[in-house]
């Protein structure tokens, strides 16, 4: 049963269950001594709830000087403007200074240098390193060698924990709880790193998942096995219409990309079947909210933007608060510190 990178984070959790010495040692190094965030799979229910409470504080009062005197490095070995701006805004709004690079091609400093050398060099300057890398496992490796905490802002097809954290925060914010929710995932469930991470992070909260996808992009068996193993209920749907949507608390839309299809005829057949149109919301619950990791192309009709169920722009804004919480946690700043923060800018 060979695994693809996207499927593989699953096994991280399997291994975690084994609680072998290596994992224990590793958790200690990354989450107690070193405080890095490499994957959301390492987080317990309590830790997720703790970070949500932290993000709530930042949503109430996002502008502070609690990180004054600190330096946050953002090292983007692969460009990702959206994620970088979100992290840099999070750091700037808390009074930190930001150093780093947005694209290694324009940075002679990293030319021909090993990742280790770059990380060790930057560790001399910065208190925490936010890094995005095209290689899988880069953040895990960096967290093992760096004397400062590492925050994974995406490592190839492997992990993107700050996206999952903002998704969890948004679900909590819109539903008032993470427990016992009906979460409908639509579109590309095969390659979608965000839906896989979210599925695994939700294992603590007794969700019921509904998977709505074309056959070629269906939720991989591995994740369905994972659901069974953790006692997570799931239902698969062929149709995507008002009757199906009627049962949803969260409608998590993703992009169906043409290049994911081996059979382009199949793409032409299904491409319009997973688009969300305004009239499909006629039976939706009042509390239902539509999420999307963005950018979208056409999978959510623009007329939905003004509908009260639309929530994807607020979701993107929550990335700021979730990342403020992630940076502070990595720096050893506690919820209590944030609640009793004398540096809040009114």
């Amino acid at each position: 049963m060979p695994l693809r990178g996207k499927d593989s984070e699953l096994w991280h959790i399997f291994a975690q269950g084994l609680a072998d010495n290596a994992t224990l040692y590793h958790r200690q190094t990354t989450f107690e001594m070193n405080r890095s965030l490499v994957t959301i799979a390492d987080h317990s229910r309590e830790k997720i709830e703790y970070l949500i409470r932290m993000a709530q504080e930042f949503e109430r009062r996002p502008n502070r000087l609690i990180l004054q005197g600190r330096i946050v490095a953002t090292l983007f070995f692969e460009p990702s403007t959206r994620t970088r701006l979100s992290f840099e805004t999070a750091a700037n709004r808390l009074g930190a200074r930001v150093i780093g690079f947005a694209d290694p091609k324009v940075t002679s400093g990293t030319k021909g240098e090993t990742l280790k050398d770059t990380i060790m060099m930057v560790s001399n300057y910065a208190d925490v390193i936010v890094m995005r890398h095209y290689l899988e496992g880069a953040a895990r490796y960096a967290s093992e060698i760096a004397p400062v905490p590492i925050i994974n802002a995406g490592d190839g097809a492997n992990q993107h924990p700050s996206q999952t954290m903002l998704d969890l925060y948004t679900i909590y914010q819109t539903q008032g709880t993470l427990d016992n929710l009906n979460i409908y995932m639509v579109g590309d469930l095969k390659y979608g790193r965000t839906v896989h991470s979210l599925l695994m992070a939700m294992r603590h909260f007794n969700p019921t998942f509904h998977f709505i996808a074309p056959d070629e992009l269906a939720m991989p068996t591995l994740y369905k096995d994972y659901c069974r193993q953790w006692g997570i209920k799931y239902v698969e749907h062929k149709d995507f219409d008002a009757d199906v949507i009627a049962g949803a608390d969260i409608l998590y839309m993703t992009r169906v990309q043409r290049e994911r299809f081996t059979d382009l005829m199949e793409y032409e057949r299904v491409k319009d079947r997973y688009l969300l149109k305004l009239d499909m919301l006629s039976k939706a619950r009042d509390n239902m909210r539509i999420l999307h990791p963005l950018p979208r192309v056409n999978e959510i009709e623009y007329s939905i933007d003004d509908d009260p169920h639309a929530y994807y722009f607020q979701q993107a804004r929550n990335g700021l608060y979730a990342r403020q919480a992630i940076i502070c946690d990595a720096l050893g700043i506690s919820l209590e510190d944030i609640q009793n923060d004398p540096t809040i800018i009114k």
Binding site: G5, F14, H133, L135, A157, N158
Partner: protein
């Protein structure tokens, strides 16, 4: 058979690795870094074996390995027998077993894995000993241990 017994019994103090498949002999030599060893090493190649047809055997004088070192052998030759001899006496005879972790032995088959792009040691967790499934500590890719490439 007489000949092999002679080789084994000729060792008075050290480690014998028996029942090595002939096509894996050189991998075993590399894995234990026998080429860098200063003590006496005797290698028997293409010996007759009732169990295996032909087999190889390695005898290393005055050298004892840690369990971890020896268990790494299970990756290339899962059915070898270890014989530990101290002062002319066989003090231990046992098969090797797959360890929980593999450090610096196996190559990760994911070309986008950090371990294939950075001068660093690979690290695998053995997630299923029965079916021989290992998972890369860094990129999380899984591999079948019978199909791995050594570093």
């Amino acid at each position: 058979m007489k000949r092999q017994e002679l080789i084994v019994s000729a060792l008075d103090h050290g480690t014998v690795i028996d029942h090595i498949p002939c096509d894996r002999l050189f991998e075993v030599i590399n894995l234990l870094h026998l080429d860098q060893m200063t003590s006496k090493v005797t290698i028997g190649f293409n010996l007759k074996s009732s169990k295996m047809g032909t087999k190889s055997i390695i005898k290393i004088a005055d050298r004892f390995f840690t369990d971890e070192e020896l268990n790494q052998l299970s990756v290339v030759a899962p059915n070898v027998t270890l014989v530990i001899i101290r002062d002319y006496e066989v003090v231990e005879k046992r098969p090797v077993s797959l360890p929980d972790e593999l450090h610096g032995i196996v190559h990760c088959d994911n070309p986008k894995c950090i371990t294939n792009n950075e001068p660093m040691q690979t690290f695998f967790h053995v997630t299923d000993k029965q079916h021989g499934v290992i998972r890369c500590h860094y990129c999380n890719h899984e591999q079948d241990i019978r199909k791995v490439k050594l570093v």
